[in-house]
Assembly symmetry: C2
């Protein structure tokens, strides 16, 4: 079946949808050349067909009835770029049941129902493509599934939320406080009006669930990911970190050892010599460690209309290739098991701690004793005078179990000479 | 045809071949899980079957007769990791004619005969996979062919030779001169006993030919690539570059405009803020600009037994998938045209120039006049006293045609006050 035309139906025509239309139009000739078939967008489902659209959208393509796409036997590929979870899930299920390939950029949906949807796809001999769900245009899903297929992935660490990375970069480079950097990110369109999902690390945890699932061939429950956002990161800490040779980034991390998976999203002090430390502003990067390939990193724009459309269109082309060649392969994810997850309390971290203490003899000795009692060994120390009676102390520990560290902190908090514990952050080992 | 076992024959068992065998063994279970079939290495062609091999090679697999692999109808995939060009080309041609898929890591062969071999493959409904030919384990070929398929690639710039990058990094970080850094690279196994192909940029030009061919859907003749190596790069220039905010790297670059392709390999001063500037030692990275995706970078180990084996094995798995599903697609390269190439003399560059002049009034004015006459405008200037009578002058120009710059240099050389022109390097625009 060598088809001359392969027909695409779209659900949604927002930022990403418009980008998809633009890419398919402006690079249509090249795509036809590479694919050997022409891609034709036949219908686009929108909420309001009368709304004014940008140039280049033929109004006759628009409909407000999802069935015009889902039930049209001429449409081979359904591209979901409308967002949302519950309604969208039902539309995608129906598309798969009707024998269509599905391309989606919807990380929220995939993180929550990805395994179920992949099972529906498998049952109908079709597939779901989701390259655009993580890292925008950066190739990640396909490299994990194909290019690194011969590797056991040991760990992955990613800057996969552009909003928080933009804010942290601005704090670090321009000396802005969190609130100011956030307002600027909102003004530039790098942060949404309600930025809580980004700032609190939820967005990154969805993306981590998708990546870790593929990297470790395991279903991931969102509840198993330890998540901490960046709203407690102070400019003061970013400056101390720089003094100690670190950049502060929100990292999504996954790692496997003999006991199971470690899954976490939180701010991390990254050594300035590490390639991830140089990833700035709205850029994303994912750093992987495979048993054969060693360290690899993928870097690029993690969001935006055209970068995301680049990934969506690559998926459409892949789906079209499989339709041309009648291949229904690659549904490996549907068969994933569920690996045990190691709770955060049982994991080992290095910590950065900033506190204020009375500037009097013996304070540091008692601090050191508290750490020693909890078997926490110290790597770096800065002590500065804060005012006449107060010293500000910054410490970086060697690797220690989260439990032992918590115990040391409880003991320190109870010491009369300690005025306040101002910041606790985790540190990537050099 | 859902095959339980897919059989592999290998040509060669050197560094990369041993790595392939190791990866297929240690991750065999995972690979079978992902592929749904078991990969079995049936025969390995070596020059000397009696030579002592590392652990884990079953001697009964070894043969010194290529026909034991090429003509065995049970073998589906031929993995070429023996290197060399002429003999290897004939062996691969025979494998394709016998209906086998071919996986190769051989950049020299591909840069010279890739288009012909892909045509043979196409004629027999088979394919050649060559992910490992550029960038070792870094996924590059597949991302270019698949993940960025919807993009028109505007430009690519890569650090794709680990030897030269190791040497330049050591010169820059440890203050070593070229010769010392080269000896050390040889001692550490990052440079060969005869390093000329690496140092003179030939190795990088082969890899560039492969990448540019895919990126711009055009056959590339090696003779069309302008190539300059690193043996003229002085520690002194690396230090001046750092003072001006640049790192010196050997870059392979390709770019397309309305008139054709620009293809070049030479040392470049890269702004320290550019992600490529942070790629150090034996690491490789390729920075791409696509019209939809924007800037993306792929980073990792560009050589070594296991990283290269990671890419070879990914290709084997892909070939096996296509055999399972009887797909003979993806031979887009065989249909490439040949785009015009813009000669270096017609290209525009920014230049770094270091020279010595008599320390006397009016010298700088006459230099500036010479540049002005040739319409070369200056971006940065450093002048230092070299000895009592000599000033060392370092200049960075704005973009200028290579022809105009050559004209200015000829004029300057003829000036009595100019003692010597010590270095000319090109500069990446900020």
């Amino acid at each position: 079946m060598d088809r001359k035309v392969i027909r695409v139906g779209m659900l949604g025509l927002g930022t990403v949808g418009s980008g998809v239309l633009q890419v398919l139009t402006q690079n249509g000739e090249e795509i036809t050349g590479k694919l050997g078939s022409r891609l034709e967008v036949k219908k686009i489902v929108v909420r309001d067909v009368s709304k004014k659209r940008g140039v280049g959208v033929d109004p006759s393509l628009l409909t407000d009835k999802p069935e015009d796409v889902l039930d049209d036997p001429e449409i081979d590929i359904v591209v979901e770029v409308m967002g949302g979870v519950e309604e969208t899930r039902h539309l995608i299920t129906r598309a798969l049941e009707n024998g269509k390939y599905v391309v989606t950029a919807n990380k929220d949906l995939l993180a929550q129902y990805g395994a179920d949807l992949l099972q529906v796809a498998g049952a109908h001999g079709k597939n779901i493509y989701y390259e655009a769900s993580v890292g925008g245009g950066i190739p990640l899903i396909r490299p994990l599934k194909r290019c690194l297929a011969a590797n056991r992935i040991l760990s992955l660490r990613g800057i996969i939320n552009g909003t928080t990375n933009y804010i942290l970069t601005q704090m670090s480079r321009e000396g802005k406080e969190f609130e100011e950097a956030l307002s600027e990110a909102q003004a530039k369109g790098f942060a949404e009006a309600d930025p809580s999902s980004d700032l609190e690390g939820r967005d990154a945890s969805y993306k981590l669930a998708i990546l870790a699932s593929l990297a470790f061939s395991s279903r991931i429950n969102l509840a198993d990911i330890y998540v901490e956002g960046i709203s407690e990161v102070k400019l003061r800490d970013i400056r101390y970190a720089a003094e100690l040779g670190y950049a502060v980034k929100l990292l999504a991390m996954a790692e496997e050892n003999d006991h199971g998976l470690k899954l976490r999203v939180h701010p991390v002090l990254i050594p300035l010599t590490h390639p991830l430390a140089a990833v700035s502003n709205e850029f994303n990067a994912i750093f992987l460690n495979g048993d054969a390939v060693g360290e690899v990193m993928f870097y690029g724009r993690g969001a935006g209309s055209l970068p995301t459309a680049s990934a969506v269109c690559a998926d459409i082309i892949d789906a079209a290739r499989n339709i041309k060649h009648q291949v229904e392969n690659g549904i490996v994810e549907a068969t994933f098991g569920e690996k045990p997850v190691i709770p955060i309390a049982e994991q080992v971290s290095c910590f950065y701690l900033r506190l204020k203490a009375k500037d009097q003899p013996g304070v540091f000795a008692s601090l050191a004793t508290a750490f020693g009692d909890a078997r926490v060994s110290l790597d770096m120390i800065i002590q500065k005078r804060s005012d006449a009676e107060t010293a500000e102390i910054v410490l970086v520990t060697h690797g220690v179990s989260e439990g032992s560290f918590g115990q040391a902190i409880a003991e320190i908090k109870a010491m009369p000479a300690i005025k306040s514990i101002n910041s606790i952050l985790r540190v990537m080992e050099r």
